[in-house]
Symmetry: C3
Subunit: 205 residues, 3 copies
């Protein structure tokens, strides 16, 4: 399998995992089938949509190539039929979600660099691509976005995105830079869940 094909496949995996997460939030909130699919799609594609809006790609990729939406909707449909089963599989779902986090962070950073943004802006856009879907998911469910108070989630995306910008600046080959920085985000996310890493809270709050 070529590098591009592997990346595409990881992208599908990530979109599917994000879609599942959206669907499970919708099911917990007792939304109906339509609400489940909408939240699955929102979680799966909103990050990429935000990225394309900010880079002024029109129409955004998500409306011109339809597989991300189809994959996310399929995840929603799957969750609808197998909710109790998926609920017990939190660990594999979390691993897939970590894959998506790494892929989206690196892909967002890459697209922003190609657009001509400087490294700091590109790194931030990578993070926004990676966590935007989960934020919209939780805001639509009228909850404080989990990404803001749960484990080291966005920080993992930040590390992956920053590592990619750094490796590209060091003129490492694209394929290698993608692989290394995705692995980094993935590993930090898994380690943070495994060891219960937490960021500090403010005193007296």
């Amino acid at each position: 399998m070529t590098a591009a094909a592997s990346l595409e496949m990881l992208n599908v995996v990530g979109t599917f995992a994000f879609g599942l997460s959206g669907a499970m939030v919708a099911i917990r909130r007792r939304l109906d089938l339509f609400g489940i699919i909408v939240l699955a799609v929102a979680a799966g594609v909103a990050g990429g949509l935000l990225r394309d809006l900010l880079l002024r790609e029109a129409p955004p990729e998500v409306l011109s190539t339809l597989w991300p939406m189809a994959v996310a909707a399929a995840a929603g449909l799957g969750a609808f039929f197998f909710a109790p089963f998926i609920d017990r599989q939190w660990r594999p779902v979390m691993v897939l979600d970590a894959v998506g986090l790494g892929v989206f962070a690196v892909a967002g950073c890459d697209k922003a660099l190609a657009f001509g943004l400087d490294a700091p802006g590109a790194v931030l856009l990578g993070v926004m691509s990676a966590v935007g879907g989960g934020m919209l998911r939780d805001m639509m469910a009228a909850e404080v976005p989990r990404v803001l108070h749960e484990e080291v989630y966005a920080l993992a995306a930040l590390c992956g995105s920053a590592a990619y910008a750094g490796l590209r600046a060091a003129e490492i080959a694209e394929g290698l830079a993608v692989a290394l920085s995705m692995l980094l985000a993935f590993a930090i996310r898994l380690a943070s869940v495994r060891y219960g890493w937490r960021l500090p809270r403010a005193r007296g709050s």
Copy 2:
């Protein structure tokens, strides 16, 4: 009356109805006059704003032609003065809202097709135009968007938008396609309220 003028008038009706819905949510939340008008405007124009952002029309129609905002604000002002009266008129308000749903779904789909989007993307953009305002309204009121868990609402928009794309692909004259697909969305929405149609929820949730 010409077809274009009828469409324009239906558009005004829809914006007004959406504005009323925003204002009533604000009043229920005990917001002040300004909050009422902001929520009325958000509900009335956010769908069109989202559509224009995604199609990269700049400035968005809503900022260059001001009647949509004026109509929605007028609805908010009306609701402020006649809240108890409007509260009792849920049925006419719901019918006007269904008109808006159909108009916005078809107009959004039409604009996206004219922009050059393929049918699936255009259909989705139609749905987003139609339900975007209501979503923002409820998110601003810190509630789960009603569109996600109430009756067959977004689904009616989806049917209208898809019917329009289909009729245009079949080379039906634009005026006829607009009328038929708007009527379809309108009829599905009314029937779903009248007969209490519901979409299924996931088991065990």
Copy 3:
């Protein structure tokens, strides 16, 4: 100090104050350090981001020049370390926030006029620049945006933005128009807090 430099400095002050407000909401919600910084940045830059999206500036200023994000993040970091202290300083924080409100309203209106929007659209864009950050801050914290129900906040921005458009239409020199309209927004906001001005609510709600 030249007029441009003064304006830039006021802009920094406003971004910092908005960042503080975002951080304090996050701390009250018991978010961790990352969540605090994200909410600080969201409150500090979202208004400008929205403005640039609507005016189709790509990439938005906020991603190409990084100081607004840096200033807002610094405010978040400061709030993290000195939360109990800042909590007692609500009055100075409120004054700084009023500075930001005026600066952003006028700067947004100015940018929209330069883009070629008509006065009413430009005035609205000024208001959206000024209150957008606070709205997103509260929506991310799953609260009804304070701007919708608290004192005369957005109305102050509206007065400043409208005054600026009016003064420019009357061909007043730019520097003077900026100073007068910012002062107006600032004064209305402070007076509304000082004298507890409120807008009316709907009867029977």
